[in-house]
Symmetry: C2
Subunit: 393 residues, 2 copies
Amino acid sequence: MKPNYHYKDVAETYLFSTVAKKVSEYSSANPDQKILRMGIGDVTLPLAPAVISAMHEAVDEMSKKETFKGYGPEQGYAFLRESIQSYYARRGITLKTEEIFVSDGAKSDCGNILDLFDADNTVLVPDPVYPVYVDTNVMVGRKVSYMQATAENGFLPMPDETKKADIIYLCSPNNPTGAAYSKDQLQKWVDFALKNGSVILYDAAYECFVTDGAARSIFEVEAAKRCAIELCSFSKTAGFTGTRCGYTVVPEELIFDGMSLRKMWLRRQTTKFNGVSYIVQKGAAAVFTEEGEKQIAENLSYYRENAKAIAACMDECGIPYTGGKNSPYIWLQCPCGMTSWEFFDYLLEKIQVVGTPGSGFGKNGEGYFRLTAFASRETTQEACDRLKALLKQ
Amino acid sequence: MKPNYHYKDVAETYLFSTVAKKVSEYSSANPDQKILRMGIGDVTLPLAPAVISAMHEAVDEMSKKETFKGYGPEQGYAFLRESIQSYYARRGITLKTEEIFVSDGAKSDCGNILDLFDADNTVLVPDPVYPVYVDTNVMVGRKVSYMQATAENGFLPMPDETKKADIIYLCSPNNPTGAAYSKDQLQKWVDFALKNGSVILYDAAYECFVTDGAARSIFEVEAAKRCAIELCSFSKTAGFTGTRCGYTVVPEELIFDGMSLRKMWLRRQTTKFNGVSYIVQKGAAAVFTEEGEKQIAENLSYYRENAKAIAACMDECGIPYTGGKNSPYIWLQCPCGMTSWEFFDYLLEKIQVVGTPGSGFGKNGEGYFRLTAFASRETTQEACDRLKALLKQ
């Protein structure tokens, strides 16, 4: 048997393990120091009460013969797909339930959706980037090229006629930079993709953080239905990182060489997937109830206030940054020309604040640093106080 | 963008939709007739009380900041992998927890594991077969060849030196035939795979139904760790078809061209998957508690009694069959030389019993018919009474 030799080309990423190792070494050497973790991309608030009670009810249903649920539809129960359909409708976007596919999370879909494309396609990803976009393509030997996301373009690269590609990744609001495209900017990407016969994979995992009129869905641009797939998640919206649920929108207008990507994805999911736990789907549907939406909004406000506090701290320190407004991430320029890792060590040594070195996300991330708004209010405020004391000149 | 053209080669399978259509048409035309559904491969008993209470507790943990769980390990929580390790240890099989990967189900793993293999490998599957084995390979353009499972070999094909292959699928106890390999037979397959450098994908989803000393794991054959991956599931063991949890064992001894399949699978799962819901994993771990095992055993006995009743009914009618002993499936030869679909129509028209036509599983399935033990006791008994009245000569 010949193994998939492309796995040899996947770079080992030591980013988060190196961070963990450095923190643990520091902690062992300095057991009395209180370390403030501002690097995590994981939520910390518990699930909303509406979600909890829906899941308890679902567990009870599974305990009785009359209400027990066996295999469900691979693409998700109608009750959840209809809730997602309404969620889009409230933002003026019309989707068919057949275009909505529920999954165990956007990360799974992000990898699995590539099954629909020939290995002989070129891929365009921004730098810096969520490493999964690159690795999943390298694993099948697909050629990856980069577009530059820099301070000059506000970390929002726009189409470049000299950089055509078959598969284009856009993530907005962006991980790691927190920058978010406007509808007008997305229109330009859609025009470019339609002109070149490309497909856009649009990662909308952070859409719920948009507050200032930036786009929340690529389908705000009508013609996007002819060139874009949107990946979305309950992870950040409703704190489902450990509960696992996401969804992907594959419009029926997506036809390439006479092949319907929606039909192909349905075939892929019915063949290689067996649906999401009924209990989890009931919890996810509760996110869209009146009560659920109110509770979710409170949790999001909590994180947004944290983000605002970090952004205000950067303003006070005179440090340039993106994000913090439409995003739980603050992407800041390391002061005094420090590299990402130098700044990491500096913060850890001096004030015991842990963040994520930007260089871990790509070469354009060098000299940048990511802080996140997912810690508790108390941790966030203390971190801001320490940052100000250290960096305010 | 070039779509994956191999999707054009995937046969549309109308088996279960045709069954559903025929039943619904008959039912509309004959609204007073009581139809007995004996074709389903889905469990009907509710989850065990131990599983239910573990999941309630887990939901409660998710409701409090102190016990909330965000991202978990992609390969599954240690508590569950250790329980699975002990489950194998009680059967005399030593596994490392690093060799056990928890997933959202065996169907997902069955498709996703193929990421580890080059497209240029030949695949050997039995006929009749679970269609997923074939379709997932056709989707990447891999060449599929068949080995014949017939009444002559008890539906248990053995290695044939003229039919070499790089990837070999074995499913035991088998879906759809219910036949199960002995340890000695598996030893021959392992020898064959080692001699030819093949990998065996061993589907053990029905292992919990083994009662007569047939093999429950391919790792009962020690050398199998150098050539086999085992896929397993909580679906049939613990009624998790709608709860979604499975696991795959990838031994560290599996090295092909210097590449470790275990490390590759870890890389695949950490890149394209984000773990199973904490709530579901807590439920799955409860399956292995003393209380859980007792309750699960009762449910399995219930289905086994159903299988025994169907088998006894076939004996009384003088109809040859396999399965029913180590399997929830009874694979019977259609009487009077009827084709699978003729017999389907005959049973529906005459006694309103619904089964699954064997021809839907492959050309060797023609003339065969599958009944399942997953219906209620009452339905099963009534179906047996009707079958006897019709078929007993």
